[in-house]
Amino acid sequence: MKQAFILIPLLILPFVLNDFWLTQVATRSLILGIMALSLSFLATYLGVVSFAQATMAGIAGYTIAFFGPNTVGIGVPLPFWVSIPLALVLATVSGALVGLIARRSRGIYAIMITLAIGVAFFYFTRQNYTFFNGWTGFSGVRAPEIAGLSLRDPLPLYLLSLGMAALALALVSGFVRSPLGLTIQAVRDAPGRVLALGVSITTPIVAAFAFSGLLAGAGGILNVWYQERISSFSVGLGPIIDILIISVIGGLRHPGGAFVGAVVFVLLDTFAVDLIDRERFNTLIGVVLLLIVIVAPGGLQQLASDWMARLRRPEVKEKSTVRANS
């Protein structure tokens, strides 16, 4: 449980940061990190890059907006303890459906199919007014109050996001050590060989997508509470590419990388705008992405752990000589 120590500074963070930093940087990074984790999980353990994660997150977000308080007068208000599980279930089912559609595709073909699904959903939300309120979408979405504690306030929302991020990482690391998780990794390495173990490959692929839908859905719920609105723009090409960029910056070798990528992305997004104008931000993030792909294909997380290993090595040698002498 070495990873649990990382939680300590993260729990102290609210006492150090002002509300702007806590909400705009820390909470936002955690939420984007959870969404990116849903992609990193698929890419790392199934070996498939999906462009439909923003769609799965969006389905959860729209569910919360439709079945909760909003200011556009559409939807059916339900208690949060119904709408939250419903949002997670719908996101998981949408993940499973994407997996079912993309199950025979790998590499560039999987990217194209999932991108087509993502773009189709984007246009659908613009044209449908009954459930998605078209172009404008929903505003005034409010996070619930639980036991007098409003999840709209910076500290509770931060702590909730932190808890969800930790839970999501724990779920991923447990799931990949389960029989189904191992089968998913086997499908990544040699699908034909999985069949030759007497195992079908449709179920592991669909299950991996469904699980990624669950993660994306958790991120999507937090995101709609954080933004307090959701519209077609929340599921368009912008967020689709942001999630991809975060995953690539963080690296696909370790699930925690998604959060490293999210912090870098949010810092650039928040502060680059002060230095250069909005239009140039895309250029900047593009250059950062290019640098990372060239210099550290494993992402920043991998780069950092390589450096750590290099720093640690002499120390280990010293220790062993001491032991040999004594």
Partner: protein, 257 residues
């Protein structure tokens, strides 16, 4: 898929008119084979004779262009590979074909869990899991117990081949198709392999592709010789040794081409 036990008298494997075409080229053509339960059969033939292509069709790795395949009396010609594996058919691959990101232990675990139909579980594995103990036993049998926690991508060529055998031995195989299991093994590993093959339960049917004529003739009771995708000769090792066709095309061909 439950194995049908009502066909005790049926042949383990029956193949009629099997052919496999790649483009305009028949890798395997017009093969008939009958293998009794418990028989030890060798498939002999020079490079490119079509031995591996025949195995691929038998297991369902590739589909047959022509012909019928029957396992223990049940037609499996149209069945996908995973269904045939569940009937007790197992194979090793000539070019080891493994999960590079998984350890030896996890690979053998999946071989066991896959056949027990329990691979769908979502809770993390416990160290006390009976299937892990079975994976360790298989590793012991196949001779890869010392590299249990190594990723398969780090294994030597010989270890990869031994792991292939470990996978094939999971959960009571009924028919083992072994594609040149001795190739690439060190001289020290070869006798272990022979001993392992001899130690298999008598009712396990073994079909062994072997490039080396001496090994093939020593370890089997019957031999089928393939040449240019066709069945050239069939019989006991003695008969094959005396067969003039075999001498002319195989032994001559092996040196000549």
């Amino acid at each position: 898929m439950p194995v049908n036990h009502s066909h005790n008298t049926a042949n383990a494997l029956e193949v009629r008119g099997i052919g496999k075409r790649f483009g305009g080229f028949w890798a395997v053509q017009d093969i008939d084979l009958t293998v009794r339960p418990g028989e030890r059969r060798a498939i002999l033939g020079p490079n490119g004779a079509g031995k591996t292509s025949l195995f691929n069709v038998l297991t369902g790795d590739t589909s047959a262009t022509t012909g019928q395949i029957t396992l223990f009396g049940d037609s499996v010609t149209r069945e996908p590979i995973n269904k045939r594996i569940q009937r007790g058919l197992r194979r090793t691959y000539q070019h080891a074909h493994l999960f590079n990101g998984l350890t030896v232990r996890d690979t053998l675990f999946l071989a066991v869990a896959g056949l027990r139909g329990s691979w769908r579980q979502v809770m993390p594995l416990r160290a006390s899991d009976a299937r892990l103990a079975e994976a360790e036993r298989l590793a012991e049998v196949a001779g890869v117990a010392d590299v249990l926690d190594r990723e398969t991508s780090e294994l030597s060529h010989g270890q990869r081949r031994q792991l292939e055998i470990g996978i094939a031995l999971a959960e009571d195989p009924k028919i083992l198709l072994l594609d040149e299991p001795a190739a690439g093994l060190s001289p020290a590993e070869r006798p272990k392999l022979s001993a392992l093959l001899k130690s298999l339960p008598e009712d396990v049917t073994v079909v062994l592709i072997e490039h080396d004529m001496d090994i093939a003739l020593q370890t089997s009771e019957s031999v089928s010789v393939l040449y240019n995708g066709r069945l050239l000769a069939e019989g006991s090792p003695d008969e094959i040794m005396r067969n003039e066709d075999v001498h002319r095309v195989y032994i001559g061909g092996a040196h000549g081409h």
